[in-house]
Symmetry: C2
Subunit: 275 residues, 2 copies
């Protein structure tokens, strides 16, 4: 089975994609070609989209599915003429929400310019800059300003997680790698000196040796760095450190960056600064 | 007016937040306290959430609004008992989608482990690593592998845009700063030598001098770098370069990172590698 899914919006299309994706993953046996049509914000663009949708319908094993977050009623009405099954977010929920809130929707697209929104947006961008500046233990002098400091062995997922927490939730996340430099003469990992004053901000990322090894092999094939022995030793030592020092930690092995980030925030009691 | 909005999910809650946010911004005159309850994946957690929601109801100017993407029917039924107005995504759309697709939903949470999903996930993480490695003109030897190379003056938004395109869409984006080093003796900006072989991948970011100046002032107050004169000269020269060399560009002044990224992808004809 093969169907086409359209994600259509008068804005970026990101919400329509997120929603459509989470609904479509519920149907495992159908293959969906996914097409995003963003910035459909005039009747003319809508009519062009309509033609594209109806063309697709002819080649598939069924009519296309449309997930739309179109705010403008006139534009939405044109898309609704398509020979398609429409999961119509705003069309479905805005009217009942207006009743519930006893208020009229403004029907305006891409409203990101309220003061509070602007402040939050700035917070997100500053957090991204913070994550960049404080990646990989490069600097430690800004740790006072960090909301959280992720620690873990090289390639356990620290950097993407910091960037995601910053971009999505405006969290100032630094990260510090646990390396041989922090091991004693018996190759035991000890608490890095640089982190001693920031225990309350530390959060550990653990990972299974097999997966770490696979990731490092892609990065530097057949290097000692990517050897199973070193990966096993480092992951074991990191875990022992987290447990000995009672540092909260999460196993990243089978989790996505989104899952790691949101679980850390929940566990650490950090508030999401939403868009 | 003050109301509370809950974003509830048995997964990360990110989709519920995105959807709820885009609906709530339509009601400008109501202030919403926003609370995300992620990983509500057992009846017990749902009952605890229920208590929290009903408590909130007592303090607001109206019952809470719930935006939920709970897949599990049993869990969702418990939340539905709340004294709240429920915008129930899966409850509303899954049954009609099952009819349309003549297939049963799997009702499983966080399905990110299909092979194609795993491949796309890996692509996103590799793109993030690529953006980190190829930030700010640090290296140019990997430009062959880039999907796109953003160019613009310092602090016009290149880095956050590259990271967002990577994280959200799996796009390999490098960026190269236009600085005084690329100006001739008459302070005219010329095409940087490093970029000459990659014209087809270049995309310019322009920005208004006032905004650039404000951003740089926060970064390095009262420095020559942040002076209006330099900002005006650099922005003018960058724009002239884009136009003279016929490099596609976008004005980032009043756009969010999400908007800049999605508009660039659309203009450059780059496909989003969706989750």
């Amino acid at each position: 089975m093969r169907r086409t899914a359209f994600f259509i919006s008068d804005g970026t299309g990101i919400t329509a994609e997120a929603l459509g994706h989470s609904l479509l993953t519920q149907f495992e046996n159908i293959r969906f070609d996914q097409i995003t049509l963003p910035y459909i914000d005039t009747p003319e663009k809508a009519r062009n989209a309509l033609i594209q949708i109806n063309k697709t319908a002819a080649y598939d094993d069924g009519r296309p599915i449309i997930f739309d977050t179109i705010v403008n009623n006139e534009v939405r009405a044109i898309i609704a003429e398509a020979d398609a099954f429409m999961v119509d977010i705003f069309g479905t929920f805005l009217a009942p929400l207006e009743d519930e809130l006893a208020a009229r929707s403004s029907y305006t697209v891409g409203k990101t310019h309220a003061i509070s929104e602007e402040r939050r947006y700035k917070q997100r961008i500053e957090a991204v800059n913070f994550a960049m500046d404080n990646d990989d233990g490069a600097k430690i002098k800004h740790y006072d300003e960090a909301d959280i400091i992720l620690i873990g062995v090289s390639r356990c997922g620290k950097t993407p997680t910091c960037l995601y927490m910053a971009m999505q939730f405006g969290i100032r996340a630094a990260n510090y790698p646990l390396t041989e430099e922090d091991m004693d003469d018996c190759m035991r990992l000890k608490m890095p000196t640089a982190l001693k004053n920031y225990r309350h901000k530390l959060f550990g990322l653990s990972i299974e040796a097999e997966q770490l090894c696979a990731i490092r092999q892609e990065r530097r094939p057949n290097s000692p760095y990517a050897s199973y022995e070193l990966c096993e030793h480092e992951t074991k030592e990191a875990l022992a450190l987290f447990q000995r020092e009672r540092i909260a930690y999460i196993d990243t092995t089978r989790l996505s960056v989104e899952e790691i980030s949101t679980r850390i925030l929940a566990q650490a009691g950090l508030e999401r600064h939403l868009k």
